[in-house]
Amino acid sequence: MEVARIPILQIENYLVASIQMALHDKAAIQFRDDLLERIYATKARGLILDLTAVDVVDSFLARLTGDIAEMAGLMGTTVVITGLQPEVAVTLVELGVELRGVTTALNLEKGIAALRKMVEKESTNGTIG
């Protein structure tokens, strides 16, 4: 059975994926694989994961997100998570899961701004180093 795939858009040199529905585990894993494939194919410098429509992030999804950030990082892509809802933020902190190596921003607009800043910084470091 085909799992409905989450659309991954490209804006400038960044990829943007917005999770619009409740992800069961298999779909989440499929999503992660799709993302990493697209990053590899497009050599995107940044990835924005928008979680505005996500109402529950449990330890599995948190771990998956961390995995995405780590694997993307290995490919040279900066990951920014946007749109975490307040109730999800509180739950994540109480659950005790850390979103390691992940930059977060309130919304898409701020996420892209943050991404630009970080990617710029990296390129500057690159030329000097």
Binding site: L84, P86, A89, V90, V93, E94, L99, G111
Partner: protein, 218 residues
């Protein structure tokens, strides 16, 4: 047909009087105070009981009224107290926008687990509403900063970070700083400044802003 004997007549009289008194007692015990004791004009063996019963019922009615009035007063007092508490709660974690994308949250008073949850919720709501990127948490007015309060603060800061807001804690006195270090609290991820002014300066720096005196008109 035999006539009723005196004994039978007497038995009936007793049954009747007892029944009417019993009816009254049953009504009263089920909460109906509207019934009245009927005391026949002619005095009989039950008159004394009737009169005492009537008096007792009157006392009960009176006591009931007093009790209901007291309940009403108590209810008003409780409602007033609830209203005051609500005001106190709202005042206890105000979130103030002092600049674009910069919030200040002054905390006054003790912070327990329940209050810490409310503080976190209020702060996150504030961040969402104002799109804040920096939050200055002023704990000058918090009397006791022990491990538990420190941990609550760290939780709040973590949650704010997930919404893209950086927090700076100000108002930690040197005694509090010392005791926190002695308690072994890990404040490594927490940015602190001495007071509100220093906190605002930090916020401005983070936002890439600078305060420059106005050029004087010639």
């Amino acid at each position: 047909m035999a006539e009723k004997t005196d004994l039978d007549q007497y038995k009936e009289f007793v049954k009747e009087r007892l029944k009417s008194l019993l009816d009254v007692v049953q009504s009263v015990s089920s909460g109906d105070f509207s019934v009245r004791v009927e005391t026949p004009e002619e005095e009989d063996e039950f008159t004394a009981l009737s009169i005492e019963l009537e008096r007792m019922i009157d006392d009960l009615v009176e006591a009931n009224k007093v009790s209901e009035e007291r309940m009403a007063t108590l209810q008003t007092v409780v409602e007033e107290k609830e209203r005051l508490l609500k005001t106190v709660r709202e005042l206890s974690s105000p979130v103030i926008q002092v600049w674009e994308n910069v919030l200040v949250m002054p905390l006054v008073g003790a912070i327990d687990s329940a209050r810490a949850t409310r503080i976190t919720e209020d702060l996150l709501t504030g961040i969402t509403k104002s799109q804040a990127e920096i939050v200055i948490i002023d704990i000058t007015g918090v009397p006791v900063v022990d491990t538990s309060v420190a941990n609550h603060l760290i939780q709040t800061i973590k949650a704010a970070a997930l919404l893209g807001a950086k927090c700076v804690v100000v108002g930690i006195s040197s005694e509090v700083a010392q005791s926190l270090i002695n308690l072994g609290v890990d404040l490594s991820g927490v940015v602190t400044r001495s007071n509100l002014q220093a906190g605002v300066r930090y916020a401005m720096e983070m936002m890439g802003l600078e305060v420059v005196p106005k050029k004087r008109e010639r």
